[in-house]
Symmetry: C2
Subunit: 278 residues, 2 copies
Amino acid sequence: MDQNNNIKDLPIGVFDSGIGGLTVFREIMSQMPNERLIYFGDTARVPYGNKSRDTIEKYSLQISRFLLSRKVKAIVVACNTASAFALDALIKTVPVPVIGVVEPDAKAACEATKNGRIGVIGTMATISSHSYDDAVHAIMKDAEVISRSCPLFVPLAEEGLWEDPVTDEITRRYLAELTDRGIDTLIMGCTHYPLLRSTIARFAGEGVTLVNPAYETAKELHALLEKEDVLTKKEPVLGQENRYQFFVSDMADQFKAFANSIIPYGILSAKVIDIESY
Amino acid sequence: MDQNNNIKDLPIGVFDSGIGGLTVFREIMSQMPNERLIYFGDTARVPYGNKSRDTIEKYSLQISRFLLSRKVKAIVVACNTASAFALDALIKTVPVPVIGVVEPDAKAACEATKNGRIGVIGTMATISSHSYDDAVHAIMKDAEVISRSCPLFVPLAEEGLWEDPVTDEITRRYLAELTDRGIDTLIMGCTHYPLLRSTIARFAGEGVTLVNPAYETAKELHALLEKEDVLTKKEPVLGQENRYQFFVSDMADQFKAFANSIIPYGILSAKVIDIESY
């Protein structure tokens, strides 16, 4: 009898500082429709992008303890800042496979670039961590990585200004120094940014390949679960409201409203938990 | 002998979710140059503007316990969201005088208005709390309060775009519905907003009086300390680096850099403390 059978049917845990990780969640739903998923958004302590390594590590470990208490078979760190700062600590501590968004992005960028000039945009914390530089250079030693923090992208995305003259103007400013330097590939190094995808693509220009953390992470997660032989074989028997569960640390109603603008089915509930107690 | 003598020379505690409260701190420095001040910015958990009442209350109580451990003689809640949600709980719990920013603003607005139409701008949490409506109506029953949340103002102020075409465009949108309704007084209901004062004034128009929470709160604090007879009589003997102390929950260096763009002397140090342990 296959020893992994019990494990296979356990859910996958996905977490983010808030709502950005829902772009990854949505992509996992689409690429692995048979899997059960648990999402945690740390809406009480969002955003992580302006916090220190110690704080982000502490929060990420609390969240992983919560997800393990719900018996997940794998954890996806669907937050670039947490991936940049806390992935090593999580891999050391957590007894199930853990995957972040940085390495899948770096791998995809190295495959896509022709001229070796790769742009990276992200939060202040992600960019100052240099984790994308390190991840790209581990694969492609001679690549030139040109990075830029874009602090207004998250609030603009959360304000719903996905297509707007103000977002255009901010995007033009943020991307100018990257396109001036001749990048041919641009990593959207924050899980919120796929919401601004079409604006970012327009200002990056036609010759630039965009790397989407949601798509790449879901693809890499599939490969990882396959390698570990823990992909579920079962057709979903549960309705979507049971197959997909949402937890937050605060503001469940607001989370639900935003999630319903991203996730392609009606989310019935998001439950508040006391994350500081984990 | 005056029993208050010991109390008089204790410092005043001022706190905010992050850096916005520094506009209040600066104004207290200017109006009461002899007082010692302790600032706490909750930079690990900033912003409060999108959090729930329970969470904001819990955080504010933790912070007041920290300030009391530093023996403050009064506490200024230099954050509109915390004033709106946590002031009652603080007044019930804390053994020293506590003052928020909502009531001083409401009082000043009622004194300034001629047509009884008062505009309020603030974070999502402040506006949805209706605390300004309540505070204004307690003074002026028939006033019409027209309010609007402005979620992008804080990130724009923190990005340093105090005077910028993007800030102009966002301000134009946010204020249009207030000016269309004929307000003659506008409460800047967030301690970050004085940083955008000149842009806000321009779009509010010449006939509109701006109410500045920093100025009004410092004025009200002076009146309160005078009434309680705990204003210090001493000329400052300490240098500014000892008279003014800064504590944060994270990112001390970044806080210091920003504080130095607001506070009119060189801040030497900001100390990180573990606020969750209070």
